[in-house]
Symmetry: C2
Subunit: 355 residues, 2 copies
């Protein structure tokens, strides 16, 4: 059977009607659309064929049709008209992004919130970290008696600091010696290389301020370890409850719980070699729980070899045109923002995921 132009028109109308009403679409509703010049009977025939072709589904014999996964797929790939952002939308996205953000984790949270707001769906944002960052340089600042500030510069342009209070009286000169030792022995190492043996070696040559070394080493290891993991944020989970398909609390809960765990962890892998905006329709989904849930994701550039990703999760019925348009625009704006010189530098940031 051939997919004629008319069939495409019908399918597109059905998808769009279904997106806006969340109810199965009947032949009459399609026939009554402004520029549909055929009667409901004709539409009915087309719908019957679209059903056998697998693009439509029927919840039960005497109900209207709803798009199948294949139907959505076709819609997204071929039929969907590009949604044009209004000036207002574009403007408010840009404005929101322009706010100053100091740390990557803070920023990811903010971005997730913004995306969620813009799409009225739960959103996630991920910033992949550059693998294998090491310490470029240590710096110790004397900040009062018994108080030392440790500043650690990493190879990926991040800087972290820690205030250390010790009852040891360390003077400028001891700190100078210590930082020289640190820079000589502890830079360029992977977190696994911070062994007890190294600790001992460094301590023995560290001079009077040796008692600072264990604290410094523990902190550094911790920081490097966190560098390895991606930075993620989820926002607006509650918005899912606004969608009619999640009126069932159990279902909403299942999906949202999954959102916290699996999806987040899997998405980077899914997007590995993808570029642009990707739409994952329902059953194409990795996780079984997200079977009738779609995911739309886009990548953006952070610079310094870091990759960002924003995405939203919603019912298979979501308004793909709007969502992809907004997401792409977001990604574009973010990439642009990061390309600007004043924003290139993002000091230290880290998060932990558990629950």
């Amino acid at each position: 059977m051939e997919l004629t132009e008319r069939k495409k028109r019908v399918l597109r109308s059905i998808v769009e009607l279904y997106i806006s009403t969340a109810e199965p679409v009947g032949s009459k509703a399609v026939a009554e659309l402004p520029d549909m010049k055929y009667s409901s009977a004709t539409i009915r025939n087309e719908m019957a064929e679209l059903t056998t072709m697998g693009y439509l589904e029927q919840p039960h014999t005497s109900a209207g049709r709803i798009p199948s996964a294949a139907g959505y797929r076709l819609y997204v790939d071929e039929l969907m008209a590009g949604y044009r952002l209004s000036m207002d939308e574009a403007h408010s996205i840009n404005e929101a992004i322009e706010a100053k953000m100091q740390r990557v984790d803070e920023m990811m949270e903010r971005v997730a919130k913004l995306v969620s707001q813009a799409t009225d769906l739960p959103a996630i944002s991920v910033a992949s970290r550059q693998r294998g960052a090491t310490v470029k340089r240590f710096e110790l600042i004397l900040a009062g008696q018994g108080t030392v500030i440790l500043v650690v510069m990493l190879t990926n342009e991040e800087v972290v600091n820690k205030l250390i209070k010790l009852p040891v009286l360390a003077g400028e000169s001891e700190l100078k010696i210590l930082s020289a030792v640190l820079n000589a022995t502890m830079t360029g190492l992977a977190p696994e290389e911070f062994t007890p043996e190294l600790l001992e070696r460094v301590m023995s040559s560290a001079g009077e301020a040796a008692s600072l070394v264990p604290v410094i080493m523990e902190f550094t290891t911790e920081v490097l370890r966190k560098q390895g993991s991606a930075n993620m944020a989820v926002a607006g989970q509650l918005r899912l409850l606004g969608q009619p398909e999640y009126r069932d609390v159990d279902k909403a809960q299942r999906v949202l719980t999954t959102l916290d765990e699996e999806t987040l962890a899997n998405l980077p892998a899914v997007m590995q070699n993808q570029s642009g905006t990707k739409v994952i329709v329902g059953p194409e989904n990795v996780s079984q729980e997200l079977k009738d849930t779609s995911v739309v994701i886009t990548k953006f550039d952070i610079g310094d070899g870091m990759q960002g990703m924003i995405g939203v999760v919603g019912p298979t019925r979501m308004d793909y045109a709007k969502v992809t348009a907004r997401l792409s625009y977001f990604a574009e704006s973010l990439s642009k923002m990061f390309a600007k010189p004043e924003h290139t530098e993002l000091p230290a940031g880290k998060t932990e995921e558990e629950e």
Copy 2:
């Protein structure tokens, strides 16, 4: 009418039965309790009187009774038996808290998650910041050509840093001059005092590295401004969906939305002069939306003049004994942890609330 011992026993039984079943409690169920030596008819009489006294309510004539707000209040204040944490529970709480946490905001998030986990309810945690923190000292580190690290020490023991990249070639000596100027003119000031006039003044005396000044000043203002606001985190909102009273999506959504906004902002005020654990039962609540929702809050000490607060939100029917016990234990453990020297120092942290 007098509140006899027996009435109290009955009330207590009813509250506890209702807590565990979430169903109105009938006289028969109470009479059948192991150590209840009266018949259902007697209990019925008592229940009738407890109802006229305002401690119980009847959803409708031929249903069992449920505790009124006054009933819960009495239960929480007088009747509730202290719940004893098992070794296991105490242990797992302690273990969870011991993980290293670097920043206040990170820690608040973690604490909220832990509390939520321990109570199976949405949890919030707040760290009030010390008002009026100012800059104690600036430090500039040369970190490669065109790259400077700014380290700002605040009076409240926090330290923040920022990597600045500028095409200006600044040498050690220029930075030394600049940092001297900064320390002379920009320390001890409130964020409002960072005026354009100040900027101009500082720039004119800053020497060759003057172009760094605007960036530094903007960053500092930002940091100080963030110091003023409290640090909050919400976690486990989804857990509310597990409670039978929130099977209605709309209701759950309303409550959770409120949780994000009002409550968070109001709680510090409510707890102003309170100490220990406070239980706010349903209608005693500030917000109208939280009418049949209870809140349990406890304070803890962070040190450095900072105050922490953890709390959970749940149905009025929640298990107050368990929740208060766990919350108090949490608060105690946290206070202890912060009292330890290694944890006294908490470098910079900040968050933003919007949605």
